[in-house]
Symmetry: C2
Subunit: 367 residues, 2 copies
């Protein structure tokens, strides 16, 4: 027998300690809201490090459920990212105004746009408009498609040194001749509001560490889940897609919130069977209508990050965005689902404003 | 209908491109061995970046199987980490000798040991002995349990600057009064042979990036899988435990090798049900005999990283190491399993020697 008395005692201690610790460290989103949020906190999602739990194993993990469904949050079937994002943006505007009145400073965001990709132009236009509305200063460096790497670096270094700029965003994708890794690595860590620097990603992935910035789209997905009253701790989450921009950071974020995460990707065999066991599905494959009703467990929560432009002469810009999820089918089986457009998209911009504001607050020690 | 002709055409193109790309990018371990390994390559595991595949989705992912089981590799039921590690260590020794004869340099490893923890003393002693046997220079800084953070920093900075030192290892765990994050962040990136720096971890997690070092234990697990002829692409892998040292990096590594990875942890509900669907189980929970036969799918491959010291007066040092896996039960149901001791443990040291050698090779441009 390898299981000695010492082990049995240790296991017993573990179980008791585990139950106790989980009560001490975990609280429902509703409790977080009341106990830990400062007046000026704009998001419902709690700070990351506070989510670290001692990793203590018990044999009855299956009964682990410290979260009671927060009765204060009612969930509608369609998660309205647009109105949630608007609420967050107006709270950012209030905070920016408070900062300006209090210390005479405003946050500043710099955007580097290379080339004239139609979708990139739209995204950048929307970001700058959102900054204006929130009172955030914005600066745009537009470079031609054929620009040299040095031109990008010059623009970047200028923004790195500019004390009125607190966030720098390089609009992706870059033209093929430019080295994305090299360029993104030059963005000052303190201004990496996109959170794509590998040091930020490393700190997001590691327990007990905290990145300076969490990438905007994943942060927006999480905020949607929390505002919709979705329990995350102990839930099965499937993330579809493993891009550096969405799939990877959302999987790390869900794991930090103690979901059991599976990452499904293009080499996954029978992704449908895996996905249909998930309580939470976040999909960022970029394949229109990949997720049919047969992929979903009844009652699942579905966050659709897919935004594939489809030609549509009747649409304002000649195309419209289609998600990964067959929306009508998902509506019938899921307990909540984000639409495309109007789901995750608006949240990305709202989170960019939050990250830029947080960066300025950090620099000036403003709370 | 949201699925336009454009989408259909795009999907068709995707499927064709995907099949073509997968043939171009992927080859079986056996092929890798013949086509890509240089004479001096010690490990069978291929360089990381070469594993990046374009993320192209097809509806028939379930049929994706570019790897034929390599007929040249026979698998025994018990994966003998000890003898595999010995083979790797002797290959390292040959390479160190070649380096010394060719450029008059040898790799150097520095170990910082704080306090007198019995297990840490054993690990450090084994590492230094392994260095000696491989012809690698070693340096040990021993500090008392009650030392100040500055003392650790002084020792670290000395090794950072020492040109004869190519790898620095801070033996964990540290006494509680020391800030692990702060200390590990000071280790020079180029000498971070443990791969625990968040920048290394970030680069391990991101597609298209490559860390300077992969953490030793996860790298050892991967090497055991590859040398045992285990297919990884498209397989379901469950990693039990999410520590920064093992669980996190092994999950990132398996994902880079295109497994579909689920991370099971202390908050996971019904971990047994999830684990028993896995083709590959890597467990690093540190809970003796957690994994019983009911947790395993018939034919699964089981890598046991758990090493819990259990008091045993009859053992040489008064204790013996017990894994997470109920070994006898696993033997009956798994297709291959690592023992404890003699499985992953010896591989960790072998990988430390590899990382130190690689670091010196990189510095001197020696191939």
């Amino acid at each position: 027998m390898m299981r000695t008395t010492a082990v049995k005692n240790a296991t017993r201690k573990v179980l008791v300690g585990w139950a106790k610790e989980s009560r001490r460290y975990l609280s429902s989103p509703a409790n977080c809201k009341h106990n830990h949020r400062s007046q000026s906190q704009i998001l419902l999602s709690p700070p990351l490090v506070s989510l670290d739990l001692p990793e203590i194993w018990g044999s009855d993990s299956s009964h682990f459920d410290p979260h009671q469904p927060p009765s204060s949050i009612t969930r509608s079937k369609v998660i309205d990212g647009k109105s949630i994002a608007e609420e967050i943006r107006s709270r950012v505007a209030v905070d920016v105004k408070r900062m300006k009145e209090s210390i005479g400073k405003v946050p500043g965001l710099a955007v580097i746009l290379i080339g004239r990709r139609r979708d990139s132009l739209t995204y950048v236009r929307n970001k700058i408009k959102a900054c204006e509305e929130a009172g955030i200063k914005s600066a745009l460096a537009e470079l031609p498609d054929c620009c040299a790497e040095e031109d990008v670096m010059t623009a970047l270094l200028k923004f790195n040194e500019d004390p009125s700029i607190h966030g720098i965003l390089v609009q992706l994708p870059l033209p093929e001749h430019l080295d994305e890794e090299k360029i993104l690595n030059v963005v000052s860590l303190e201004k990496d509001v996109d959170g794509f620097h590998p040091l930020n990603m490393g700190n997001l992935s590691m327990r007990g560490r905290e990145p300076l910035f969490v990438p905007c789209t994943p942060k927006g997905c999480l905020e949607l889940l929390i505002r919709s009253g979705v329990e995350i701790v102990g839930k099965k989450a499937v993330v579809i897609g493993r891009s550096n921009i969405v799939g990877l950071p959302i999987s790390l974020l869900l794991q930090r919130h103690h979901a059991t995460v599976t990452i499904v990707h293009a080499c996954t065999r029978n992704p449908e069977r895996i996905t249909c066991e998930a309580d939470i599905v976040v999909t960022a494959a970029g394949v229109p209508n990949l997720i049919r009703s047969s992929w979903l467990k009844p009652g699942a929560v579905v966050i659709d990050v897919g935004t594939c432009p489809i030609e549509d002469p009747s649409a304002e810009y000649g195309y419209r965005l289609v998600g990964d999820v067959c929306f009508e089918e998902a509506l019938r089986i899921a307990s909540a689902v984000t639409p495309v457009p109007g789901g995750v998209g608006p949240m990305t911009i709202a989170m960019l404003l939050c990250n830029t504001l947080d960066s300025a607050k950090r620099l000036y020690g403003f709370t």
